[in-house]
């Protein structure tokens, strides 16, 4: 099995995540799509580590996981606070800021 397939798979996952961010309306689902993008990157990093015969890429994947966890903490806190005041997590309803 050539490593290229994994690169294609990760590119596909990244694209699915990116499209999801653009078309989905619920802030939580948008956020999950962003997480999907980050995990697609992890797959890319590990595959390149394999291709280059190094460990660096695998170590980077761990860093990405930690950052993703921190992002979840902050992100869910923000989405919770807006849900409490608005009783909805839809990004379409947050439309007060425009000219």
């Amino acid at each position: 099995m050539t490593p290229t397939y994994y690169l294609l798979l990760s590119a596909l996952l990244f694209s699915i995540g990116a499209v999801g961010v653009l078309v989905r309306r619920n802030a939580i689902v948008v956020f999950m799509c962003i997480e999907l993008m980050l995990n697609a990157v992890n797959l890319t990093l590990v595959t390149f580590a394999r291709i280059n015969g190094q460990l660096d890429g695998q170590v980077m994947a761990f860093f990405v996981m930690v950052v993703a966890a921190a992002e979840v903490v902050v992100g869910l806190a923000i989405i919770m606070s807006i849900f409490r005041t608005r009783r909805t997590a839809s990004v379409d309803d947050a439309n007060l800021l425009k000219y």
């Binding site: 990157v41 980077m60 409490r84």
Partner: protein, 535 residues
């Protein structure tokens, strides 16, 4: 246990503590600040946090001055993850000084009684209770219902101080990062506190929270792009260190598509933070919705950090492949200047107008960052210093014009302000002229430095477009000046609050530096041009 015996002992990389002392001070004190938040009783927190934050900034500044005073060469430390070279030292100094001004604005409790930030828990319950209304703001009466006595000023939550220090630490790491992974971590360390700070406003909670959600979702989206760019460049070069990427650009056996795709994604992530051109969509919303002191911090410091990072990536890692990417960045810079100047004309809110002005300025800065010469670096650094202080003072002034509902940011409310408060109108006029780039202000010197560098590097058509864009942008600054001086004030117009010592100090700092850099720029230009990037 035999495998332990066989393991090669890890060699600890040498650390130059003197060079990274400012960074360690800021991040260490940020942790102490969290402990203060956790263990001190509520009424003691505000004075302790303010004192702690100011001492941290001054202490880090002293450590930086001591190190820079020895005239060091550029070095890399922490196993080459962090580069401390003349541009890094200049950016650290700029960031610390701008953060000092922002903290003064954040700490002020005289302009908004009790401070501009979320009040303590019992009052928040009252705000949440009426939050079902779809109006943009929550009335004053509802806010004050939560306190025992109406004359007792509500204390503000002081989490904003550790957030500021962590964000500042992230920014300082970001401009010093010598590899892409350090840069990514720093990007998150600076962004995550900023997302939260946006949502902390005491008034207009819905706007503030909406700004936080928008900034967070778009910011996380952009950092995912940055990260994918990192992965593709790692695949191309087999390394993420900037100097080694530069070497591999000529030697790598991998397909160029990886390099160009990776660079494009990386640049999208960076441009987002710098609110450049077509990646600016969050800027006006977040600038308007966030509490004004936080907007000042964001507008000044984030811009400095983002362009510090862009400079290092373009100059150290991709300087040799500039013919591949320069055409695209031309288009981005033109788009940024055009969007900022044209859409800025149609704005009716002062904070949104300054946001679009920052998009236009990002275009000018990008022109400097694209010039792969020493003048390009020093011009951009000087521009960042000048722009940062002017913006800081502008937001300080905006926070003073208030009516019963809080800040009066709608432009029509500013009509005839010169008749109510000549001093404030004069200060604002001076700052707007500096943003427009009129001689004798820092804005002129900065634009001159950047455009001269671009001309020298053979980008004459871009400079012409930039001059046209600054002429168009000058129109909307002057529109505000005309409105303040030549319109009749409204009957129920906003009052100008007399600022307390902190806000006065911050605005004075910004105005003085704008003036000094305009009249005698030589010293700062000398610091900005003290040397190039290491590596």
């Amino acid at each position: 246990m035999s495998f332990i015996a066989q393991a090669v002992p890890l060699e600890v990389p040498p650390i130059d503590y003197g060079a990274i002392a400012p960074l360690l001070i800021v991040l260490g004190m940020a942790c102490i600040s969290v402990l203060v938040e956790a263990f001190l009783p509520r009424h003691q927190r505000w004075p302790v946090q303010v004192a702690l934050t100011l001492v941290t900034l001054v202490g880090a500044g002293l450590a930086l001055g001591l190190y820079a005073g020895t005239g060091p060469d550029g070095i890399t430390t922490l196993a080459d993850a962090v580069a401390v070279d003349p541009p890094t030292l200049f950016l650290w100094g700029t960031l610390l000084a701008l953060a000092l001004g922002s903290v003064l604005l954040i700490a002020d409790r005289s302009v908004e009684p009790g401070g501009a930030f979320l009040a303590s828990a019992e009052s928040r319950a009252a705000v949440v209770g009426v939050g079902g209304s779809r109006a943009g703001g929550v009335g004053r009466s509802a806010e004050e219902r939560g306190y025992g006595s109406p004359d007792q000023a509500p204390t503000m939550q002081t989490e904003v101080f550790p957030f500021t220090l962590f964000a500042l630490g992230g920014m300082m790491t970001f401009v010093a990062a010598n590899d892409l992974l350090t840069m990514f971590i720093a990007l998150e360390v600076l962004s995550l506190p900023l997302y939260l700070m946006c949502g902390l406003a005491r008034r207009r909670r819905l706007l503030s929270q909406e700004a936080a959600v928008k900034y967070f979702l778009l910011g996380a989206f952009a950092s995912a792009f940055f990260l994918y760019g990192l992965a593709l460049i790692y695949g191309y070069a087999g390394t993420i260190r900037f100097p080694e990427i530069a070497d591999s650009v000529v030697a790598s056996p991998m397909s160029d598509a990886l390099l160009l795709g990776g660079l494009a994604l990386l640049v999208v992530g960076l441009m987002f933070k710098g609110s450049v051109g077509p990646f600016h969509t969050w800027t006006p919303d977040v600038y308007q919705g966030a509490p004004t002191p936080v907007t000042a911090f964001m507008a000044a410091c984030t811009k400095v950090a983002a362009f510090g990072g862009i400079l290092r990536v373009l100059h150290v890692a991709f300087g040799d492949s500039r013919w591949e990417w320069r055409g695209v960045l031309w288009a981005v810079a033109i788009a940024s200047m055009a969007i900022g100047a044209v859409i800025g004309l149609t704005q009716t809110d002062v904070k949104r107008m300054v946001a679009y002005s920052s998009v236009a300025h990002a275009g000018f800065l990008l022109i400097g960052a694209m010039s792969i010469t020493e003048q390009g670096v020093s011009g951009t650094l000087f521009y960042l210093l000048a722009y940062g202080f002017t913006t800081l003072a502008v937001f300080g002034v905006i926070s003073l014009v208030r009516d019963a509902d809080g800040e009066a940011t709608h432009l029509s409310r500013w009509a005839g302000l010169a008749k109510r408060s000549p001093v404030l109108a004069a200060v604002m006029t001076f700052l707007l002229l500096a943003l427009a780039g009129i001689p004798l202000t820092s804005g002129f010197t900065a634009k001159f430095a950047v455009f001269a560098a671009a001309l020298e590097d053979g980008m004459a058509p871009l400079v012409v477009i930039a001059l046209v864009a600054s002429a168009v942008a000058a129109f909307f600054y002057i529109r505000v000046i005309v409105l303040m001086y030549f319109s009749e004030p409204a009957e129920d117009g906003p009052a100008v609050t007399v600022p307390g010592a902190f806000t006065t100090a911050a605005i004075t700092l910004g105005v003085l530096i704008t003036l000094v850099l305009g009249i005698v720029p030589t010293l700062a230009l000398g610091w900005a041009g003290a040397g190039g990037f290491v590596g």
